[in-house]
């Protein structure tokens, strides 16, 4: 436990966390900068490949696209940032195709940032007049108030395509099933592991966890972002190797009956 009247500049209890954090940061930053000029091939992510088709479908059917980042996140959550990156790409397409984009959210800050993101996309596409700020709206901070509001939009507007990308909680299946009942094509993705199972059952495409974070590199083709995804993969290999070594270590300890070392626990 942390002493009440601590005076030291450095908390020695957090040394393992500090070491791990610094190693991770160095690897990610080094790889990102060292490889930022290289070409990378990112494996095909079906959900992201379907983004263009989903917007195209909505345009053909003369129906809107609905995009919502879920109730569970706020702007400081990396998943929300990743979701806004995908929003930017979707808005690029809706601007060009002149397709209405509706973005209900539970958080006023997310609303403000999303308005900026969508406005920027419409400006970039050369159609600032097609941007409708009222469609990027705050609906309610309450979980089921938000779910009811989005459900209402789904049933009244009958969007042809629905994007459920961000942090979702219990509202996930309510939204996904309502989207399914209006025959919308649905692309979902979340970092909430429990909600993934609901999305997999009810949606056409589901981005699983880290795929949401890889989306901005995948969609934008930005080499620095792609390099950081490569760094992520290197970290994953290192963690897998660490787990493997720890498993072998503890198995050998158990077999030989030696005193547990637990050096990997922190």
């Amino acid at each position: 436990m942390v002493p009440l009247a601590a005076t030291g500049w450095f908390d020695t209890d957090s040394l393992p966390t500090l070491v791990t954090s610094i190693i991770s940061i160095i690897i990610v930053l080094y790889v990102t900068y060292a490889l930022r000029k290289r070409e990378f091939k990112v494996r095909r992510i079906a959900g992201l490949a379907a983004v263009d088709d989903a917007v195209g479908r909505a345009t053909e059917m003369a129906r809107p696209v609905l995009y919502t980042p879920g109730w569970g996140g706020d702007i400081q959550r990396p998943t929300t940032i990743a979701s806004l990156n995908i929003l930017s790409h979707v808005a690029d397409k809706t601007a060009v195709y002149d397709c209405r984009l509706v973005f209900p959210t539970h958080d006023p800050v997310i609303m403000a940032v999303a308005q900026e993101v969508v406005h920027e996309s419409y400006m970039k596409a050369g159609y600032p007049d097609r941007y409708r700020p009222a469609d990027i709206a705050y609906v309610s901070s309450s979980q089921f108030g938000y779910a009811a509001a989005v459900d209402g939009l789904l049933t009244r507007l009958k969007p042809a395509s629905v994007f459920l990308l961000g942090t979702f909680e219990a509202e996930s299946l309510i939204l996904a099933e309502t989207g399914n009942s209006i025959n919308a094509i649905q692309v979902a993705g979340t970092d909430s592991t429990i909600q993934l199972s609901f999305f997999i059952v009810a949606c056409d495409y589901t981005l699983i966890g880290e795929e949401v974070f890889a989306a901005s590199g995948y969609l934008s083709g930005n080499k620095s972002i792609l390099a950081s995804i490569r760094a992520q993969d290197i970290m994953k290999v290192l963690i897998a190797a660490f787990i493997l070594v720890a498993v072998v270590w503890v198995s050998v300890e158990n077999l030989t009956g030696s005193t547990p070392d637990n050096w990997w626990v922190f």
């Binding site: 436990m1 942390v2 009440l4 966390t17 569970g72 979980q143 089921f144 909680e169 219990a170």
Partner: protein
């Protein structure tokens, strides 16, 4: 009138199953799981008078499931003589938490101020959890009813998480994760969970890694806890409805698969 579709019949069927079984009011016997037993045993093992922080991290919507969960564990804590500090990190859980603590404390003749205090809601849960790690007094200068922190005998000896045996997060979402990521990781406080059934598996990895000390989940968890403390409640009462709804869903899965295979066979014949 629009014609009813298959899904409308499934909805109606579920409504009938739940309504009928709730009216029957039959209590089924429940086998206690190791998860629920671990939470019970932890609270039982604390010496009487230990300070527990109970955080009502839920909204009003999940009340039918949350109430029996909360009541069972609050009853146990009050009966054991623990002292409770109530907080809420979601605005909607605030009054619900206050009422639950007040009602349960009254059952055991516990006094506000010395046996329990309710501090109420603070916005921005991450900031609130971190701030209480520094000073609960500064985070909540007054209790829920607006009286100064130091007026209460129970609170005078509580500065931050160092003076709290554990935090029990009663949650219907992922807020308990923040208690572990910030309260446990940063300040080392013991985190206990009492969560809705849908959230149970979310917390399994934390439970296995001991970031969460113990957890009970759902109406079934409440029924198990009620059995352990020997007091009947909403958990046991709701188990028939829940069990019947589960069987109904299994029936739907079977029907869906029969229809799928029949259609596939017909398709092959054609």
């Amino acid at each position: 009138m629009r014609r009813l579709q298959a899904r409308h019949y499934t909805f109606l069927g579920l409504a009938v199953v739940i309504t009928v079984t709730m009216l029957l009011n039959i209590r089924l016997d429940t086998r206690v799981s190791p998860y629920t037993r671990a939470l019970h045993d932890y609270i039982e093992s604390l010496p009487p008078g230990s300070v527990l922080m109970v955080s009502f991290d839920h909204e009003a919507s999940s009340l039918p499931e949350i109430r029996p969960i909360a009541r069972s564990v609050l009853r146990h804590a009050f009966r054991k003589g623990h002292r409770l500090i109530g907080v809420s990190l979601l605005a909607e859980g605030t009054l619900i938490g206050y009422r639950l603590m007040q009602e349960t404390a009254a059952e055991y003749g516990r006094q506000y101020g010395s046996d329990y205090v309710y501090l109420g809601f603070r916005p921005q849960y991450i900031a609130a959890i971190l701030a209480m790690g520094e000073s609960i007094r500064d985070t909540y200068p007054r209790d829920y009813l607006g009286r100064p922190y130091d007026q209460f005998e129970l609170l005078r000896s509580v500065e931050n998480y160092d003076d709290v045996a554990a935090v029990l997060s009663i949650a219907d979402g992922s807020l308990t994760t923040h208690w572990m990521e910030y309260g446990q990781a940063r300040y080392g406080v013991v985190v206990l969970g009492a969560v809705t059934a849908a959230m149970a598996t979310t917390y399994d990895p934390y439970l296995a890694s001991a970031q969460m000390h113990a957890m009970m989940a759902g109406l079934r968890g409440a029924a198990e806890y009620e059995k352990l403390i020997g007091i009947g409640g909403g958990g046991a009462r709701g188990m028939l409805a829940q069990s019947s709804a589960h069987l109904y869903v299994i029936l739907l899965i079977v029907l869906g698969n029969v229809a799928y295979f029949v259609r596939r066979r017909e398709g092959r014949r054609d």
